[in-house]
């Protein structure tokens, strides 16, 4: 066992940055006021929320800070965006999304189907990429909303949201276009007045960019069709009721400023990691390698071993990463994203996701490069599908047809 923690699961969550925490503390202590209160003591809290709004607007390249609504995170944001767009278009009863969305979108669309909406789930190819032609063909007369993630949380594959949104608007400008930018905010430059100018709604989450959990933001373009989801107060101009989570909102603002001053993630770390493990480990492939990908995400599939064993063995060296294996979840099905990409069954259970943050170091990558080949080699030695003598898959595995008595 190892006391050192090597955290490379930043697509799951990130540590709160020091400057973020420092910015928050006053609003948990002496500046505890409700920003809606009328006495002057509360003014600082109200001003801090507005300053954070300004920072988030700049992070997203929004034209006006009034287009930013603070909320409880991307799951709330996605629920609110999709339902709100559908309710603002009551005559329209069709929704389009993709087969690889985060459950915070997929489950919403499934629920809409149960309530009588029709839905189209766009497929992806072997590299995890969408075909714009499928999107265009899917648009119907009564399509209310298209929801397509900006980058996939499991593979890091980036969808060309600017182009896709422009195409949707060409077909029908009244279709609302939503994108879940949880994985791209803070990792890529976002420009809602430029490349993303056809996006109506965009959702982000604080804890993926070094702000705390439980805070997020939604961009609602001025003039776009959308109705508020959470009612019960005048906060956020009546678009998201509930007393502001001031400290966390301030934290999100500070995090937005932090990631903007940090240069874009370089692919150097990821590429070094991928090259090193490819050189040392046979029978692996990088999921999504044939598509544009986030600089911080590696999703690698090892044939003939199972992901949960890899995770536990790596964790014995202090390494925290995640897997698309079925065994890491209550489900017995491997990742819906890898299934949609038709990852071969020899590898679907052996996938590993390694995701860095701006605080990740070369030493941490070295630790993975150091440990991973040994772990995979040992698990393959244990695996009945592997021939240790030739260091390649056994050729007589046809004897392994399920449970055959010989």
């Amino acid at each position: 066992m190892n006391d050192r923690i090597i955290y490379l699961d930043n697509n799951a969550t990130t540590p709160v940055a020091d400057e973020v925490l420092q910015a928050m503390i006053p609003f948990l202590k002496e500046q505890f006021f409700n920003p809606s209160s009328t006495y002057p003591q509360a003014r600082k809290a109200a001003e801090a929320v507005e300053a954070a709004r300004e920072s988030v607007a700049r992070l997203l390249g929004a034209g006006s800070k009034s287009e930013i609504i603070f909320n409880g995170g991307a799951t709330e944001g996605n629920n609110s965006a999709i339902w709100g767009a559908a309710r603002a278009n009551p005559a329209r009863r069709h929704v389009i999304t993709t087969a690889v969305e985060h459950p915070a979108v997929l489950e919403v669309v499934r629920e809409m189907e149960r309530e009588g909406f029709r839905a189209t789930y766009l497929p992806v190819n072997r590299h995890g990429m969408l075909d714009a032609a499928d999107l265009i063909r899917a648009i119907q007369d009564d399509t209310a909303v298209v929801s397509i993630m900006h980058a996939n949380n499991e593979t890091g594959v980036i969808f060309p949201i600017g182009e896709l949104a422009a195409l949707v608007k060409k077909v029908d400008p009244d279709v609302v276009f939503h994108t879940d930018a949880t994985q791209t905010a803070g990792k890529m430059r976002l420009d809602l007045q430029g490349e993303l100018k056809n996006v109506d709604l965009l959702t982000i989450s604080g804890h993926k960019l070094h702000a705390p959990k439980g805070v997020g933001a939604m961009f609602v373009r001025r003039g776009s069709r959308w109705r508020p989801w959470q009612l019960g107060g005048h906060q956020e101009r009546g678009r998201r009721a509930g007393t502001e989570n001031v400290a966390s909102i301030v934290g999100l603002g500070a995090a937005a400023r932090l990631v903007m001053t940090h240069p874009n993630h370089s692919t150097a770390m990821r590429d070094r990691l991928e090259k090193a493990i490819k050189d040392q480990i046979p029978n692996l492939f990088i999921n999504g390698e044939g598509a544009p990908r986030l600089a911080n995400t590696t999703n690698v599939a090892f044939e003939f071993v199972e992901g949960e064993s890899i995770l536990l063995a790596l964790n014995d060296h202090g390494i925290c990463v995640s897997s698309g294996s079925a065994c890491t979840s209550g489900s017995l099905d491997p990742s819906h994203v890898l299934k949609a990409m038709a990852v071969p069954f020899t590898a679907a259970h052996g996938s590993l996701r390694i995701s860095t943050s701006m605080f990740s170091t070369d030493d941490e990558i070295d630790a993975v490069i150091d440990v991973l080949p040994t772990v995979i080699a040992r698990l393959r030695a244990i695996s009945p599908y592997w021939d240790v003598r030739t260091n390649s898959p056994r050729t007589d595995v046809d004897i392994f047809i399920q449970g055959k008595y010989r």
Partner: protein, 338 residues
């Protein structure tokens, strides 16, 4: 773990939520010992084994090959003790630990193959100081592979399977109608395990043998898991069967018919001009054009073949495609490149 998993978080035997790695110390120790190839562990193959059997498959996410050697100095095969038990396992932490447990149980007690048959998945679970409910199938896999190996040994020694009580288990692995298509499990197999392991609900079945654990389509379809349960235990017994709602995350894409919006005539005209004027010119340069969709007066199309990614593509679109379609079909057409 990746945060997108439906129903993530496991349950222990009391139905309490536990973390995925809330394994007993024994499970973790056996896994770590196997990973470290510690002396006394049982990972490995046996050349010329006296009995060998397997269970599981690569697509299911776990598989086990179990083999043993007996003490050949004893002349009576029925009294030969297993002196060496070995496994090769593909699977999660608990699958590997279950395999270690199976081999250790047999070797420690010096069992004959016939005595070893009495080992059940419950014995393996006990040896491991418990397994999360969703991981019980790992122990079942061990018991299945053991039965297969003993059947193999009996076959080699000309010992009738009926003598071992194995004749009830059809060799050839319970051939029959496939009920759970995700894990390729047949009706006879599921019926046998439902009785053997006293499985009362769909969740029990999924935990023990994985059936119904992925797409869930077989839960309530005719001849599905609920029907097998009702048939085995009577309807009232299993009506409370509940199971986590894990739904297929990948429905088929639907595409809309554009006929209602796109005048057929227009589409035909566009096609005609593409065939007669545009395609020959593009193909001359090793390229081609795909008309993706026509909506109103907007033609969505893309250049393919040699034109794909060509620097001159936007110009080609305008000068070759747009000019021809506007001149010969409709001057108001808008060409949208995708």
């Amino acid at each position: 773990m990746i945060e997108t998993w439906p129903g993530h978080g496991l349950e222990n035997e009391r139905g309490e939520k536990v973390m995925p790695w809330d394994y007993s110390e024994k499970v973790l120790q056996l896994f770590r010992d196997a990973m470290a190839a510690k002396a006394g562990t049982h990972m490995g193959s046996i050349d010329d084994p006296d009995g060998i059997g397997s269970h599981g498959s690569l697509s299911c996410g776990d598989a086990l090959e179990f083999a043993f050697k007996v003490d050949a100095t004893e002349p009576d095969p029925r009294r030969q003790k297993i002196v060496q038990a070995r496994y090769r396992t593909f699977g999660c932490t608990s699958a590997i630990a279950s395999s270690e447990a199976l081999c250790a149980l047999i070797e420690e007690k010096g069992l004959t193959p016939i005595q070893a048959l009495k080992i059940t998945n419950a014995d393996i679970v006990d040896y491991l100081d418990g397994l999360p409910a969703q991981k019980l199938h790992c122990s079942v896999m061990g018991a299945e592979a053991l039965q297969a190996a003993v059947a193999d040994w009996a076959h080699k020694r000309n010992i009738p399977l009926s003598e071992l009580g194995l004749d009830a288990i059809p060799t050839g692995e319970d051939e029959g109608r496939i009920v759970c298509r995700c894990f390729n499990l047949t009706e006879p197999f599921i019926r046998r395990k439902v009785k053997e392991l006293n499985l009362k609900t769909i969740a029990d079945i999924t935990n023990a043998i994985k059936a119904g654990g992925a797409c869930t389509a077989c839960h309530h379809e005719p001849g599905g898991l609920q029907d097998i349960l009702d048939d085995t235990w009577g309807r009232s017994d299993s009506s409370q069967a509940a199971t986590p709602a894990i739904t297929d995350p990948q429905p088929m894409p639907q595409t809309s018919s554009s006929m209602t919006r796109t005048p057929f005539q227009l589409a035909r005209e566009v096609d005609r001009v593409v065939e007669s004027d545009i395609r020959p010119r593009l193909q001359h340069d090793g390229g081609d054009l795909e008309i993706v969709e026509i909506r109103g007066k907007k033609v969505f199309c893309r250049l393919t073949g040699g034109c794909q990614g060509c620097k001159g593509a936007p110009q080609t679109m305008r000068l070759v495609v747009e000019d021809a379609l506007r001149a010969k079909v409709d001057a108001e057409l808008e060409i949208v490149a995708i």
